[in-house]
Symmetry: C2
Subunit: 155 residues, 2 copies
């Protein structure tokens, strides 16, 4: 068995524990760097009352805490299911180099466990989105926010 | 001044506090439902050592805790800057109905504060992505993970 398959099996076992022991979502994720496991996590949306607490997201957060910096450059994430657009973006923005997943959206579809929704919304033209997204230019008095930020960065 | 502008000004003031008092990212967000402010948050990536702790994300999480459920149906988010793909996805998946922002990506571009990166990566064909994303079908012995989940749901 390759190490990729072994880590994916670990993510599946985490997911299975979430189903069996906590009666909740079947998703697990493992973060690895240089052959060392930095984090293992499961979906904790219900446990934490946090809609962002997907397995990959919790794994990214735990790995960052383990490393002591919000930068996962050189890390690989092994996820039981295809990551949603939130988690994929989080992993990308954190510098994760690769993501492997064991169950595709097609595998999840018959169980209503596909992660397609977010991607579909993002791909829609703005006028056809379900969620309104609109620019309302507002500015406070005094120095501009971004100018203040630039000044602060220069100090 | 419209209520939209007032909430956006609040998000800008939160962002300014983050710059002035904590010397960090100029982003703030406010979550409102039925005219009531549920959450006010700032970017806490550095404070929390959490790459996902953008202002909108922290606001979504705080609003969910305030409501006691991971469901923000009927909520509106006011963000100082254009939300990144992670936060936009999180808000959409949580059921947020509308998002208004005061600074566009174009406004942020000269300050390197545009949120385009994640969207650009998601729009790339898989083969051209910076972050590898690959399906490696793995299955544990015994009952299938998703079948186990379905069984659990039926009980």
């Amino acid at each position: 068995m390759s190490s990729t398959e072994a880590y994916l099996l670990d993510s599946i076992r985490l997911a299975m524990e979430n189903v069996r022991e906590r009666n909740t979502w079947p998703f697990g994720a493992v973060v690895v760097r240089d052959g060392k496991v930095l984090a293992r996590a499961v979906n904790e949306v219900e446990a934490n009352c946090d809609p962002s607490a997907h397995a990959e997201m919790q794994a990214v957060r735990a790995a960052s805490r383990a490393l002591g910096k919000p930068d996962l450059s050189g890390c690989t994430v092994y996820a039981s299911g295809y990551p949603c657009s939130m988690c994929l973006s989080a992993m990308y923005l954190a510098g994760v180099k690769a993501v492997y997943y064991a169950y595709s959206n097609e595998d999840g579809e018959p169980y209503d466990l596909s992660a397609e929704r977010g991607y579909i919304e993002l791909a829609r033209p703005l006028a056809q989105r379900e969620m309104t997204l609109a620019y309302v230019r507002a500015r406070d008095e005094g120095i501009d926010l971004y100018e203040a930020w630039r000044e602060q960065q220069r100090q």
